[in-house]
Symmetry: C2
Subunit: 213 residues, 2 copies
Amino acid sequence: MARTTGSDGERTEAAVREAAVNLIARYGYEAMSMRQLAAEVGVQAAALYRYFPTKEDLLFTLMREHMEGLREAWERARPFDADPAEQLAAYVRNHIAFHIGRRHATHVSNMELRSLSPDRLTQILKQRTAYEKELRTILREGAEAGDFSIEDTGLTAMALIQMMTGVIVWFRPGERLSVTEVTATYLSMTMRLVGARMDTYSAARPLDGQRTQ
Amino acid sequence: MARTTGSDGERTEAAVREAAVNLIARYGYEAMSMRQLAAEVGVQAAALYRYFPTKEDLLFTLMREHMEGLREAWERARPFDADPAEQLAAYVRNHIAFHIGRRHATHVSNMELRSLSPDRLTQILKQRTAYEKELRTILREGAEAGDFSIEDTGLTAMALIQMMTGVIVWFRPGERLSVTEVTATYLSMTMRLVGARMDTYSAARPLDGQRTQ
């Protein structure tokens, strides 16, 4: 997401990040050169190295900020004093909204882990694990409260995250369904998948009635 | 999958395909050169062009054969005279088994659509649509028979496929769970997600009791 305020330096750095996400999503990280990126942004290659001393610094920054953004969005979206079904519904809504708005960055974050050095890979995986743990905690608390019926909390969390992130593969704004409709249907599927009791399930569905066959 | 029988030419071609899948999964298609691939296989670059006149011919062959393999596996696995829950269970088992055994090829097939020419992209997308349609048909027939409770057949099919294919991202043989255990848990999640009636659902779960918390 390009910043529209800030110094020239900040604007350039934001433009570099945005162009890099698009180039990596299109060609892959290994195939993108800093020279190609500089040309895309309209600066000298040397200028890029002021912001990102190595190509991997750039990749790592993109991935770290993507995960930080996701976790911050969840911190803002999470309801307090809510039962597990409401918390799960909030997690689903936030996850889908965040990723639908960042299709290329999500692509890069999921695909290019292979190109991080071991230390940095560990850092990104730690961020991911922390985010996924939030979901596992909701699922476990729901199961313990008898609100959900779940065999394996870890597998259920992975299944839900991959199901939800998968929306970016096929969803395009302006086609058959709106984001609201897609989210409502994914919410229903999620609640059934975790075996939510019908009463908690209904309480967590304010978007009901917007679904299509 | 390398062939172990056949002429020298067939063996070389199989070795090229296998090396290409691994290199593309590691570096991305755009970053892989035919020279690098030839070195990996231990042949002259000119020899590669006998089998694959262009790099894109190679990519297209890998993707087409992946989808053909998936559809053939499903044709062999699909039960006839079975109710929708049994058919859905067979689809889930086949999908997970096929993809777990072909992690790199799945990666390549999902990521490198961006590098196909428009005509070839259309061909691969047609194969995918035909495969996904099989699942949509099962879901629709189950919903019509009152065995499943589904809001949107298309979205449910996409959600299930992405949830199942996602197994390759985290599953590693020899860790906490076996393929059989993972499949059993995914089968339960699938049956709940489609709102399967409990009796049909149980009938489709021969693997019951192998699940872990």
